[in-house]
Amino acid sequence: MMSDLTNLTITEARDLLAKGEASSKELTEAHIGAMESARSLNAFITETPEKALAMAEASDVRRKAGTAGLLEGLPIGMKDLFCTEGVLTTAASHILDGFHPTYESTVSQNLWNAGAVMLGKTNLDEFAMGSSNMTSHYGGVESPWRKAGDNRPLVPGGSSGGSAAAVAARCALGATGTDTGGSIRQPAAFCGIVGMKPTYGRCSRWGIVAFASSLDQAGPMTRTVRDSASMLRAMAGYDAKDSTSVNAPVPDYEAAMTGNIKGMKIGIPKEYRVDGMPTEIDALWLKGIKWLEEAGAEMVEISLPHTRYALPTYYIIAPAEASSNLARYDGVRYGLREEGATLDEMYEATRGKGFGAEVLRRILMGTYVLSAGYYDAYYNKARKVRSLIAGDFAKAYQKVDAILPPTAPSAAFGMGDKMDDPIAMYLLDVFTVPASLAGLPGISIPAGLSQDGLPLGLQLLGKAFDEETVFKVAGVLEEAAGFDAKPAFLAA
C-alpha cells in the first residue's frame, strides 16, 4: 500500500510539513497504516503507533510555536539494537526478553531531539550478526522485492534487514541501521535503497547493544542520498560518554552535495574483481565507472593488496569482541533467566537457550581465538593484518579522493538459502568488510537491476571524516543511475 504521503523522500516530506500542506500527525498516520499493511514482511519487532502519534502531535505543536528540528515530524524506524527508553529492546534475541531500557541511546535521542517520530523497532539479525536477517528470534524478514516471475520470498539482507525492508516498502521515510561488517550497506543494496556507514567514531555507540566494539557504527537507511545526508547530520556528533567518539563538528552534509565532481579522482580497486563474480555485477560496476567519468571525474586504478585477507580478519576480530561483549547476558540483571540449581547452571541454561545458532557459533569462535595459546596466532595476528588493510587505504587515499567498489557479490537470495553454510553467508560481506576494518565511511546506492529484476548496489568509500565527499559523489552517481524501480510488494 502506498499513498501520496508514504511515497515521499525525507526532503519532500520536510518541505510539505514546512509549507503546512500536511501535518506530522497525518504523515505519521499514513505510515502507521503502511506499517500495519506490511506486517507480512515482519520488518518490525515492536510497533509503537501510540507513541508515534504522541510524538507527531507534539511535533505539530512545536512547529506552530516556530521551532522545527532537522527532521521535524518525520516518521522513522529504529533498529531494535538501539536502546529506547520504556520501549521493548530485544536485539532480536530471546535472551533480552522483556527488556525495557530505563535509558535512551545517544543516537536515537539525537533523532528525537531533531524532531523525528518513532514508528517502531525494526527487525534485525540476532545481535546484528548476519547478512540475511534470518537469525532473528522473531523470525526472518521478507524483502518487499521479488524475482521477476517468482513468488519465493527473498531476504532483505542483514543485519539491518528490517530497517531496509521498512524503508523499501515505504513504511518509513527512513530508518536507523548499524554496520559492523556491512550490515547497513549490504541490506541497502539488496532492497534498492541508500545505506550509509559513517567513519568510526562519527556517531556515538552509547546505548547501542554492542556487537563488535571496534567496528560498530550507526548510520541512516533512506531512499535517497540527500535524505541520507540530512539524517546522518541529525544522528552524528560527539558524545563524552563514548570514549571512541570523535570530537569533530558535524558539517551540513546536504550542502556538500554540489553535484560537481569535476577533477575528482576515483579509485577502482583491482583486487575487488573477485573470482566468480557475477557478470551483471561487473557490468554494473563498469556502468558506474562510466557515469562518474561522464561527470568529469578521473578513474584511477588502485591496489588494495591485502583485500582478500579482510574477511578472515573480520571473522576473528568481530567474534572475539562479541564473545566478550555478550558475556553480560547472563540472566542476572535483565532479560531471560532459565532456572539452574547453581549459578553456573543458571548461566549455562540461560545462555544456551537464550542465544540463537549463529550467535552461539560466533561466541564460541571468539572465545576460542582469544583462549590461551591461540591469542598470538589468531587475534593478535588479525590485528596486525588489520593494520595492513588500513595501510592499504591510507596509501590509496594519497592518490584518490574516493573509491568505487560494488556493494555485494550477488543480489538477494531466497529466505532459508545459505543457512547450512556459514562461510557462504560470510562471503557476502567481501566488499563491505574492508572499509569497516579501516573505520572508513561508505555508502551504498541502488544503481541497477539484476537479470531477475532485483536491485544491485554500488558503493562509494571515502577518507576518514570526509563524508562530505562521499555524499557529493554519491549524489552524482545516484542522478546518473536514475534508479526508480519499486519493489513488487508495493504493486500488490
Binding site: 527488556f99 525495557h100 530505563t102 535509558y103 568510526y200 567514531g201 571496534s214 563524552a240 570514549s243 571512541t244 570523535v246 570530537n247 591485502h306 582478500r308 585477507y309 578472515p312 580478519t313 571473522y315 576473528i316 564473545s323 558475556a327 547472563d330 540472566g331 542476572v332 540483571r333 535483565y334 532479560g335 531471560l336 533467566r337 540449581a341 547453581t342 549459578l343 547452571e345 543458571m346 549455562e348 544456551g352 537457550k353 542465544f355 552461539l360 557459533r361 561466541i363 564460541l364 569462535m365 572465545t367 576460542y368 583462549s371 596466532a377 589468531y378 593478535n380 590485528r383 596486525k384 593484518v385 588489520r386 593494520s387 595492513l388 588500513a390 556459514p422 562461510i423 576494518l437 573505520g439
Partner: protein, 95 residues
C-alpha cells in the same frame, strides 16, 4: 586447525553456554571449517607490523573526578528477573 568435541565442550564451558551433547559434533565440524578458512591469515608475513589498537586517531579521553551518576537503585534493578530488598538475587553460590 581442527576442533573436536572435547574442545567444543571446553570452550562452551569457558563461555558458560550449554551445548547439547547431540549438537557438539556438528558444532565441532562447523568451527573447524571456519577456523580452517581463517587459517589463511598465516600465509601473510606480519613481522614488524604493529597490531591495530584503534581506528580512531585520538588520545584516550579522561573524565573529571565528580559524582555525576548512580543514585537510582530502582532503575538499576527494574529489569532484574529476580530482585529482593534492593539486591539482585541469584542461585546461592558456595565458595
Amino acid at each position: 586447525m581442527s576442533v573436536d568435541k572435547e574442545t567444543v565442550a571446553k570452550i562452551a564451558r569457558l563461555a558458560r553456554v550449554r551445548v547439547d551433547e547431540s549438537h557438539k559434533e556438528a558444532l565441532a565440524k562447523e568451527l573447524s571449517n571456519i577456523l580452517g578458512w581463517i587459517e589463511q591469515l598465516s600465509e601473510l608475513d606480519t613481522d614488524g607490523v604493529e597490531p591495530m589498537t584503534s581506528v580512531v586517531s585520538m588520545t584516550l579521553p579522561l573524565r573529571e573526578d565528580k559524582v555525576t551518576d548512580g543514585g537510582y537503585p530502582d532503575k538499576v534493578t527494574a529489569n532484574a528477573p529476580e530482585a529482593a530488598h534492593g539486591f539482585y538475587a541469584v542461585p546461592k553460590v558456595v565458595e
